[in-house]
């Protein structure tokens, strides 16, 4: 359950800005599993509108789509139905994963961890999610977490410096590597690899569009913006408009994007049971 976004509302526009980024990483690692594709049981924890599951289902038949938001699940179900496909849908709080012990071969969790806790709960729900994940995974099971490092929060998007108040608030919702590794260790899990794809841009083509941030639908695809006050947002948009008017915005975007090219926008953590 997101602590700060209304995903029942956002589900209507979510797919305008989001796709299954890093999908090849996910498929590649699942293919390293010793079981045949038909025998793998995969949970998409915090599935949203099902962008990852829809693609994964082309190769793996047994998928569970789980989310807290009924709006997201309905959208997800509709997309599967449009393609005459069917998987298992479940509405649950992923910090209380309602699966039996050792029933899941793979758990994927894409850009969802930061919705589990408010800053004051000190990653309590994330810790619960990881504990349950360890319990539900089969021996030799695989967990793939896609999240954003603190460095990527600051410099993975060209507007990171402009929305600094939101980035600072976001940092309280995203673990540092040290925090994540410690929580995983406590849950009996261990990171075996860390993968960053420098070429993938979450926001796709509109990322370089100078007008994109003026579009609410675009901003709704990035939960940073919901952590800005209205006056902060207006002041940021004014600053961008000013750069646009004096012809410096294009250069600003190019300069800032050099940082993204070095660090990427998101990180996959490949995780196994200890």
């Amino acid at each position: 359950m997101s602590k700060y976004e209304d995903y029942d509302l956002i589900s209507a526009n979510y797919d305008k800005t989001r796709t299954a980024v890093g999908l090849d990483i996910v498929i590649g690692y699942i293919y390293t599993m010793s079981k045949s594709n038909e025998n793998l049981h995969i949970l998409d924890a915090g599935c949203g509108t099902g962008n990852y599951s829809l693609e994964l289902n082309k190769y793996f038949p047994n998928i569970w789509c789980a989310d807290f938001s009924m709006g997201m699940l309905n959208k997800c179900k509709e997309k599967f139905s449009d393609e005459n496909k069917s998987v298992n849908f479940l509405r649950c709080d992923i910090s209380k994963l309602p699966f039996k012990d050792e029933t899941l071969d793979v758990i994927i969790c894409n850009q969802s961890l930061h919705h589990l806790d408010d800053p004051e709960t000190n990653f309590k729900n994330l810790s619960l999610f990881l504990n349950h994940s360890a319990r539900c995974l089969t021996s030799g099971g695989l967990m793939l977490i896609n999240t954003i490092t603190h460095d990527q929060l600051e410099n993975g998007v060209w507007w990171g410096d402009l929305i600094k108040p939101a980035v600072d608030r976001m940092k309280k919702r995203f673990t540092t590597d040290e925090q994540l590794f410690s929580l995983l260790d406590n849950a009996g899990l261990v990171v075996t690899n860390r993968v960053v794809d420098l070429d993938v841009i979450i926001q796709q083509n509109r990322y370089f569009d100078e007008d994109s941030l003026f579009d609410k639908d675009f901003r709704d695809g990035d939960s940073h913006f919901s952590l800005l006050t209205e006056s902060e947002l207006n002041s940021i948009l004014n600053e961008i408009q000013e750069m646009k008017n004096n012809g410096t915005l294009s250069k600003y975007i190019k300069e800032r994007d050099k940082l993204r090219k070095k660090i990427g926008q998101f990180t996959y953590y490949v995780i196994k049971k200890k």
Partner: protein
């Protein structure tokens, strides 16, 4: 109404008691095996959320 696929119950447990779940065909709900908790199935999607569960007194 589409019939609930009870094979899913090979995987699922009650999020509160961790007991197995049984499908009540008449009421179209899931009940924990200790008989304490009931969960709705909405549009064929099990809703295993303890905030929305029915505690059987």
């Amino acid at each position: 109404m589409k019939v609930f696929n009870t094979k899913l119950l090979d995987f699922l447990v009650c999020p509160v008691s961790r007991k197995c779940l049984t499908y009540d065909t008449t009421r179209n709900i899931l009940i924990s095996d200790d008989g304490k908790y009931e969960y709705k199935i909405i549009d064929n999607i099990p809703v295993l959320i303890d905030d929305e569960l029915e505690v059987i007194s």
